[in-house]
Assembly symmetry: C2
Homo-oligomer: 431 residues x 2
């Protein structure tokens, strides 16, 4: 959908508009005596009381369920905004401190996502409308070490191997913890981030923030469409969509070495810089050959519709493969029939003002040739050794898109399973 | 409204969804041969052909009219995102070059806001859904000088006087030109910015970018509500809303010294840093006294509803004024019956990741005490000498909020009148 074209949900939903917010805040005990005068009973039974949808649910429901078998923010259809923040544990924080931190964060995240007031939050109006807020937590290897439970970390939880062409900046690298905060309203996302940073301040400090956005298309039938990256291509066409596909391609599952991993997943965040001036020098046919898909539809060059299966063996009238062997899709797709190479891609575009991210000295430089634009490539899978690593190895060596992209950041996290009400993230690991 | 609660506009609007985008791009001649197969005729008569609303129009209409008596993006109800970019003219660019630049920019802006393809734009899909995109252009004094028409600049077009407490950074200061790009979709805004920076590259280079966001509330009746700043208060309650109010408080009008100014306005952009840690140490009653309004409703402390008129003379049971004389609203309101002190406030929140806007050296510093949060205070008025300057003088000297805020940037621009189809911004100044 475009942000201006959401179907109107049930009447009197949670919103920042007059009556619905007022009734909502009344239930939270936040309406001042003066404000309560003039209230009407309209809609007083709706608002966030609205039983939460499921994680994969209705894009029009402002509340995405926080608790569940899996954490929200993974199956959830993409929201318009994403602030992902990695944290470093403070010196001396041990298992007890980590558990306290996770208890504080999980409780506050649960409240924020429901449109309720987080602990010690004096500005609850800023997130009264959750606008599909999700907060997803991941653990780096450092957390397991600091907690003295390194033996309970997944084997794969270590820095990714080097790939050809990587120009990694440690500034976007592995950290002890990560929070992926996504939502359709930037004020809500900003406020949630502030509440969590402050709430965890005694235990962890933010080390990097990657801030991204997406268009959020919706089809005529209300189903989510595929967002575009800043090269103009649809991104995420081959993602899993059914529960069975998520079970195979995302959740660790019962083959886990530790039962506390079963409903978790592996989160990889790669910062990928786009060379926009060079891209802008490439014409549309060149771009389509490099990608292996059409720009408008996102169809494979052997098809007409986005979800048509690519035919990598098709030969054109010129005797050449229709889909170039070094196109992005030819290399990114499953090879050797190994279905474990599938994964969920849930990346976000970034586009930072050069003037704000640069030293003052750059203000008068020629900024036209510069841009700080790209993709916060984010993927989820059961085990990166079977998915991201082999796929990225192929891409790093042969992808035609490499002419225009550079990987500048790399981080891996274990995402613990979802929670039941009252539980905290990763609780089973500390049992 | 919340972004998830827009009423659905007319059927088959411009969007990034399948059929409507496809038919839209077909008319632009952008559908590739393969993609065209499988097209249906559904909705082929709608899309952006959708006659544009007026500038003050329906929040659900994805197209805000570009041409008109006044530029769009001023009366337009606020959109969720704003990238405002100030430019410096390249050395040697004179009246001819400036006219070329304005012709290029106006043409591209007109196309982008209609969801059409800008010149030399190879990624038109990224802004196919305008999502209420508006692009508003302002001129600094430097443009008038470079064009050799300094005598046609408004008298007031010069740096603002110093105010008590200012800690101005030239990085956010006066420049030759400014583009305020607002819209509900960040991909569209990002792409429009890129197209305009590139299109004007031979004539001007970006010097600063201020990137902001707002919640976009809408009442049950579909009228826009008042967004909140990151202190949690509604911001903009006393704004003009009727044409008559805009005529008095925003447009320069027939008293202009130059007929080319009549339908223009003065744009002031002040960057205002919020001290969040200190704010978070203040309780809600303290905040309400400092503001003079309630947090939940935004009502004056002498009233119950947001739009109640404040009673600055009211005395409470304790013998003290109900609205403190040094509260923000007591000082910001019209004094001495001088109605010229009214203006349109159209500011945006900013909240930059500290890690991204800081040197690497800060990564391990204690970031908790830091934040880079505040308000891109933006206002429009006929003449700042009658509006912003006297009001800000009072505020800078006495506003209780000064304990938590610091002005760090200041820039003033003349916003030329709106355009007719085919005209460029400020054309009458070059006649």
């Amino acid at each position: 959908m475009s942000l201006t074209e959401h179907p109107h949900p049930a009447s009197c939903p949670v919103s920042r508009s007059g009556f619905s917010r007022r009734s909502f805040l009344t239930r939270l005990g936040l309406v001042s005596a003066t404000a309560a005068v003039g209230m009407t009973a309209a809609c007083s039974d709706t608002g966030s009381g609205d039983t939460a949808g499921d994680a994969t649910g209705d894009a029009a429901d402002p509340v995405v369920a926080f608790d569940g078998v899996h954490q929200a923010g993974i199956e959830t259809p993409v929201q318009a905004n994403n602030s992902t923040v990695a944290f470093t544990l403070r010196d001396g924080v041990d298992a007890t401190g980590i558990q306290r931190l996770l208890r504080i964060w999980t409780g506050d995240a649960r409240r924020l996502c429901a449109g309720e007031t987080a602990l010690a939050d004096l500005e609850p109006e800023l997130s009264a409308d959750p606008a599909r807020l999700t907060i997803t937590c991941g653990f780096g290897r450092g957390l397991f070490r600091a907690a003295g439970i390194d033996d309970r970390a997944p084997d794969w939880l270590e820095p990714l191997p080097a790939f050809t062409g990587d120009q990694l900046d440690a500034r976007w690298g592995d950290r002890d913890l990560v929070l992926q905060i996504c939502g359709d309203d930037r004020t809500t996302v900003s406020h949630a981030l502030r509440v969590l940073v402050r709430g965890g301040a005694d235990y962890a400090r933010p080390s990097w923030t990657q801030e991204g956005f997406l268009d959020v298309p919706v089809g005529e039938d209300g189903t989510p469409g595929t967002s575009r990256n800043l090269f103009g291509f649809k991104d995420g066409t081959v993602n899993p969509r059914t529960d069975a596909e998520f079970a195979e391609q995302v959740w660790i599952g019962t083959e886990a070495t530790d039962p506390a991993h079963v409903d978790g997943t592996c989160l990889i965040i790669r910062r990928v810089a786009f060379d926009m001036p060079l891209w802008e020098a490439a014409d549309r046919p060149t771009r389509e050959v490099a990608m292996g898909r059409t720009i408008v539809e996102g169809a494979p060059l052997t098809g007409t519709e986005e979800f048509d299966e690519p035919d990598l063996d098709a030969i054109g009238a010129d005797g050449l493969p229709v889909i170039d062997q070094h196109s992005h899709i030819a290399l990114a797709t499953v090879h050797d029939g190994d279905e474990r190479q599938r994964m969920l891609r849930r990346g976000y575009n970034y586009d930072l003002p050069v003037s704000a991210s640069s030293a003052d000295g750059l203000v008068d430089a020629d900024l036209i040739a510069l841009s700080d634009t790209g993709l916060i490539f984010t993927c989820f899978q059961p085990d990166p050794r079977n998915a991201f690593i082999p796929v990225q190895r192929r891409l790093s060596e042969g992808d035609r898109l490499n002419e225009w992209i550079t990987h500048t950041g790399s981080a891996v996290f274990f995402v613990p399973p979802g929670t039941a009400d009252g539980e905290y993230w990763g609780q089973a690991l500390f049992a």
